[in-house]
Symmetry: C2
Subunit: 188 residues, 2 copies
């Protein structure tokens, strides 16, 4: 055995590895992820998972906490940032949250709160008529694009598929369209 770190540090590092493994497993299997699967991915004994986190439910709660959202002082910048993030790679916690929110009321509530915060930030920053409705539609559309891209695999959003489309090209089309709805300048 190599020179070991202080016990406390080793324990914290193991706990972090378990949490990362939990995010990955919940991201792949949703609420059907198992303690055994998480332990195997983290390279530890299953009992250690509960030793560190007490229960599967507690570990789940920690694993699906989304990263803090950026502020929305500038609407266009905010839209572009969020859209790029959702079309490129998904943070493990976000992937786990989306995968789990249809079979966990707790996850659904967390997602509702998270999305509603973005709705209110966008609505406040735009301030047009029907601002909340428009912001809700924008946020819902981004959610739909995220799911279609990362969980369903619709070929039209798959980068490098048929027409070798990059995520940037998708965002170039989508961003002005979302901005137009928020601003209320679209015409049919």
């Amino acid at each position: 055995m190599p020179e070991s770190l202080p016990r406390k540090d080793r324990r914290a590092a193991t706990a972090a590895r378990i949490l990362e493994a939990a995010q990955t497993e919940f991201g792949v299997h949703g609420t059907r992820a198992t303690i055994r699967g998480i332990a195997q991915r983290a390279g530890v004994d299953p009992s250690l998972v509960l030793q560190h986190y007490g229960s599967k439910d507690n570990l789940f709660t920690l694993a699906v906490q989304p990263v803090a959202s950026v502020s929305a002082d500038d609407v266009d910048d905010h839209l572009r940032t969020v859209l790029d993030a959702r079309l490129l790679e998904l943070p493990p916690a976000t992937r786990a949250l989306i995968r789990s929110m249809f079979t966990s009321e707790q996850a659904a509530q967390l997602m509702r709160k998270y999305l509603q915060e973005r709705v209110e930030a966008l609505a406040h920053a735009s301030g047009t008529e029907d601002a909340e409705l428009r912001a809700t539609v924008v946020v819902s559309s981004i959610l739909g694009l995220t799911i279609a891209r990362h969980f369903i695999g619709l070929p039209g959003l798959d980068p490098g598929a048929d027409g070798s489309r990059t995520p940037d090209q998708v965002a170039d089309v989508v961003e002005p369209w979302l901005a137009a709805l928020l601003a209320g300048t679209e015409d049919a």
Copy 2:
């Protein structure tokens, strides 16, 4: 016991009740729905469920088959029809499919095929530049609105919530916006 129908009809009626119960249970619990729960909802013995359908997986396959989509000869009519259907009440099979597609690869594949058919119909009917990309974004947005409305419960889409908004009012805002993206006439 009242005068009973012919055995065959009674049996078919029971099978139909079981299938309906399965759609409801898969719509509520996703792939976590149980044979026992389905049987209880249908008012029959659990063994009867397997007697009729062979296996849970076979019953699941039948329960999540979406109803056939309408044709898209007229783009605006098609958008309006689909949008109204998704914002009002969701068919049981569609609810079960969406709820299950994150924990069942079979359901995910079925949803991909279903959405891609709508994408190609819309893209063919519009025929603008980047038609497939635009149709994919439209279909993904409708999916996002459906999920936000029926599975997350975002207040901005909740009919009769704060501003007593009807689904029609939501569709009145969303439909022209989606049509503009398809037609390529939006401006930023």
